[in-house]
């Protein structure tokens, strides 16, 4: 009976003018026409509701190129802690943008920079980034060199760095083959560290720590050759990246110049239609001293923390060479959420031949990633290593 009553109410509500029609109706067609006539007397514009109109306005703002302000979560240097920041993007042509942004952390890490991006060069196969800015890190950890360092021996240093760089990335064949080159000029001004632990100069001297107190100007040039079949570096479920990057850091004063070669391999192996993804990464950094020059301690390879050796403090391991191995078993929850069980292993050594997986510091963990097709706006991970737990919040994919 409830259904019947509901039906009656429905009909009455939908066709109130039936009351007027009752005496005149002689056919089904006439009845319907009278209802149409009734509605014709009370037509209203077909307009979206308030909620839809509001969402439409927001969507239009995003899609019209008029969305200028954005959040900026990147701090000046890893280890700075929770970061707040904002940026303002302006199209300077149909495709090219200029972004001005800044961030700050409670520990005083500051970054202020501007970046010009031209993403459609060489028939849409090249992207040019020109970046200039200044940053300050107030309490970067230094624990000593090598695998024998202890987390209890932390010291802090600070630096400020003005920088100006240009980087050109080209896929000459449209995809897969990546060529990347860049030039940067910057000055690292290393100084005393802040925070609860001793400043680095209180523990070390320039004789025991190369580059202590140095303020070198670097002309940093780099070139990469790589194979990249990922759908996007920001989020992918398949594909691989294999690349070699050669860096040259030239100190015009001839004191702190060096070369560095980075090797990186990333492979994603989808299983059962990407229900699971085995993601593997190997990353090695090797440095080469220039004759008669030193590599400053703060330029030596290390691990930044949130994206590599995740259970350990930022910059916990440092030496002239480093090796990072990461494996993740990712599980797709839905189109927007992914889980991951992972293991990281990292080691450093003064000599390349001494990089040994047996000596690695390792961690394991679980992570959750909220992602789109191209990017990972939020990554949350809980991890545990030999020195305790780590909690990672990041706005990028780990690899």
């Amino acid at each position: 009976m409830r259904r019947i009553a509901a039906g009656i109410l429905f009909v009455i509500a939908a066709w109130p003018s039936a009351v007027r029609a009752q005496d005149e109706v002689t056919s089904r067609t006439e009845l319907i026409e009278k209802e149409q006539d009734s509605k014709a007397q009370a037509l209203k514009p077909a307009a979206p509701g308030k909620a839809e109109a509001y969402v439409t306005r927001i969507a239009d703002t995003f899609l019209s190129g008029n969305m200028h302000w954005h959040a900026f979560w990147q701090n000046a240097y890893s280890g700075g802690g929770f970061t707040v920041g904002a940026g303002y993007t302006q199209f300077v042509s149909g495709y090219n943008t200029l972004d001005v942004r800044g961030s700050i952390t409670p520990s005083g890490y500051k970054r202020l920079e501007s970046e010009f991006i031209a993403p459609e060069l060489f028939g849409r196969r090249g992207t040019l980034n020109v970046l200039g800015g200044w940053r300050e890190a107030t309490q970067v950890g230094f624990y000593g060199f090598g695998m024998g360092s202890s987390k209890d021996n932390r010291t802090n240093y600070s630096f400020t760095q003005p920088y100006l760089s240009a980087q050109l990335r080209v896929f000459p064949t449209g995809r897969f083959l990546l060529l990347r080159g860049g030039l940067e000029v910057s000055q690292w001004k290393q100084g005393a560290g802040q925070g609860d632990v001793p400043s680095v100069e209180q523990v070390y001297t320039p004789q025991t720590l190369p580059g202590l107190g140095a303020q070198p100007v670097y002309w940093h040039s780099q070139g990469t050759v790589g194979y990249d079949s990922r759908t996007s570096p920001g989020y992918t479920r398949r594909g691989a990246f294999y690349g070699v990057t050669v860096h040259d850091f030239t100190d015009p004063d001839g004191a702190y110049g060096f070369r560095q070669v980075d090797y990186e391999g990333i492979q994603h192996i989808p299983i059962l239609r990407e229900a699971w993804i085995i993601a593997l990464r190997a990353y090695a950094q090797t440095t080469y001293e220039k004759s008669g020059q030193q590599i400053p301690f703060f330029m030596m390879p290390s691990f930044s923390g949130g994206g590599d050796l995740r259970a350990y403090a930022s910059w916990r391991l440092r030496d002239q060479n480093s090796l990072l191995l990461q494996a993740e078993w990712r599980a797709t929850v839905n189109r927007f959420l992914e889980m991951a069980l992972f293991v990281d292993g990292g080691t450093v050594s003064p000599r390349r031949n001494d990089l040994d997986v047996k000596d690695m510091k390792t961690d394991v963990g679980i992570g959750f990633r909220f992602h789109g097709q191209l990017a990972t706006p939020l990554r949350i991970e809980l991890t545990r290593g030999s020195e305790g737990f780590g909690l990672v919040f990041a706005a990028s994919q780990v690899f």
Binding site: Q22, V25, I32, L43, K44, E274, A275, A331, V333
Partner: protein, 559 residues
């Protein structure tokens, strides 16, 4: 009683709901055409925001319970009359394979000797243009993705033919050729940049678009061309409610059977993208009146060709599917979903489309619109009969319009569509009392058919049972006459039927007794009017709102 009959049959019993002075059946029942009597000339374009629509569908509609309300645009014999939404074709009208292959196409194909570009294609994932051909006719061109040559354009062609045959208004589409060497850019053509600015269309913009398209060996491109519709475009239609500026739009769209049936038709073709943006309302002049004609303008997201082939869950899960996501979350992905293991035969020109594991009852579009939620068993039965009306030859004719260069791909596509057709019939025809086409001849013999048995999807019942009642069309009161039984689909009327004079009505509740199908015990309700020539079927309710008095316990009203 008469209230029960009329309350849910909007086109078939509106007045009788409220007024006892009107009859249950009019002389023009059952109507074959939904009247559109008033001008909608003042209707204005409507833009439906995609993000809001998706969010509403996924987070409101997905948890919505169906109202169980009878479809509102059916006539008194449970059929959908022709309208500005729908035209009865395959299943009611003889349609030859040649007619289906032609479909809505009534005019010449594009003249591809020269194209004049007007603007880029802004909706959907496949690249394309709006362009004028050598004859000056405007077309919407859509190319295939490089990884899947022929796939998208073939899907558009085939789906357009099938949906035309099913009864929907379709856009004229052809597969054509696009030669960049014979392209001009209209002087007023513009291209929308990421900055939001529209600036003059350039040669480089052509290259930009064609970079995402499958290129033929001779440098040309295969494209699907959709003809610009005549009339004033009013934007998309909503899958719920009515247009407040259209006087002829009386039935809430979620209660239109032709839209509810998309759940079955969509499952058949794997049409997953039901966004409003793929529909179109157009103001046209017909019989001297402006009416709004409603199109399914883009049915190309069919046969596994939605966005890309890595969206394996298309047709199996909504974009966001709470229960499935919860299962995978709690089991770390070990709670497998069917789409993770279903095998596909791989052809570059065919998407993820198969017929062996296909189950129409669990099929899902990208987002659930309200008619999808509201579909009842009688709607599904009606839709399944329409699908089953497509013969193998009709299906092959439709598939042939896809112009696959690989004959094996064409055969595979047709075979899968045939398998899915049969799966739909197997799922929905036996699920509810499948008695169809009741006839009462002048001699008083009642005959009918059993759609499930005739299709080979069920064993014949042990017997059929008919309850005969005298029906007063003025008061809707009934008085039992007799009950008859038969082991076949034919039975004589009781002698009492002779007492009904011309102009009188008889109500017959027809059921089948089958141990395998208890739901068949729930009778369909038919009404016949005695005419000078015999008996005319004027009423049929497959799921009668007033339960029959002689239904065995435990059969349930809804199978």
């Amino acid at each position: 009683m008469r209230t029960r009959i009329a309350a849910f049959v909007i086109l078939g019993g509106l007045a009788t709901t409220v007024f006892t002075s009107t009859p249950a059946f009019f002389d023009d029942d059952p109507i074959s055409r939904e009247p559109e009597s008033r001008s909608a000339a003042n209707a204005k374009p409507l833009n439906i925001e995609l993000f809001f629509e998706y969010s509403y569908n996924l987070f409101v509609n997905a948890s919505r319970r169906p109202s169980e309300r009878r479809a509102g645009n059916i006539n008194t014999i449970d059929e959908v009359p022709d309208s500005s939404w729908f035209t009865n074709r395959v299943g009611t009208t003889p349609i030859s394979p040649e007619q289906l292959a032609r479909g809505v196409n009534s005019d010449a194909a594009p003249a591809p000797e020269k194209w004049v570009l007007l603007r880029e294609k802004t909706a959907g994932t496949n690249p394309g243009f709006t362009a004028r051909d050598a004859n000056g006719v405007t077309w919407f061109l859509q190319f295939d993705a490089p990884e899947f040559p022929e796939a998208s354009s073939a899907a558009v062609e085939i789906a357009t033919k099938l949906f035309w045959g099913l009864g929907y208004n379709q856009v004229e589409t052809f597969i054509t050729r696009f030669d960049p060497a014979h392209v001009e850019i209209d002087s007023k053509a513009t291209y929308k940049r990421p900055s939001g600015a529209r600036t003059p269309f350039t040669r480089d913009d052509i290259t930009r678009i064609l970079e995402r398209a499958a290129r033929n060996a001779d440098g040309t491109y295969r494209a699907s061309a959709g003809r610009l519709l005549p009339g004033k475009v009013l934007g998309s239609f909503r899958y719920a409610g009515t247009r407040s500026d259209d006087p002829n739009d009386l039935v809430p769209h979620e209660h239109r059977r032709d839209l509810r049936a998309l759940r079955v038709f969509g499952a058949w073709t794997n049409l997953v993208d039901w966004k409003a943006g793929n529909t179109l309302d157009v103001l046209v002049e017909e019989e001297g009146r402006s009416i709004i004609k409603h199109y399914l303008q883009d049915v190309g997201s069919s046969f596994g060709m939605a966005n890309n082939l890595h969206e394996w869950d298309m047709g199996w899960e909504y974009y966001y599917d709470g229960p499935a996501a919860k299962r995978r979350f709690l089991t770390y992905g070990f709670g497998l979903s069917p789409w993770q293991t279903v095998p596909y035969t791989s052809y570059p020109s065919i998407g993820n489309f198969e017929g062996d594991r296909f189950d129409p009852t669990i099929w899902k579009p990208q987002t659930p619109v309200q008619p999808y939620i509201e579909m009842r068993a009688d709607d599904a039965f009606w839709a399944a009969r329409r699908v089953m009306a497509f013969s193998d030859d009709l299906i092959r004719a439709a598939v042939h319009t896809g112009q696959y260069t690989d004959g094996a791909a064409e055969q595979h596509m047709a075979a899968v569509i045939i398998k899915r057709r049969d799966a739909i019939g197997r799922a929905y025809l036996p699920a509810i009392n499948p008695i169809v086409s009741p006839r009462l001849d002048a001699a008083g013999r009642l005959t009918f058919q059993n759609a499930a048995v005739d299709a080979g999807f069920a064993e014949a019942p042990t017997s059929y049972r008919a309850a005969w009642l005298r029906f007063d069309n003025a008061t809707a009161q009934t008085r039992p006459l007799a009950e008859t039984r038969s082991a076949t689909t034919s039975m004589p009327a009781p002698t009492e039927l002779a007492s009904i004079a011309a102009g009188g009505f008889v109500e017959i509740d027809l059921a089948a007794e089958s141990a395998a199908h208890p739901s068949w015990n729930v009778p369909i309700r038919t009404h016949f009017k005695r005419t000078a020539d015999g008996w005319k079927l004027v009423g049929l309710e497959r799921m009668a709102d007033r339960p029959a008095a002689n239904v065995p316990a435990g059969t349930g009203q809804r199978p």
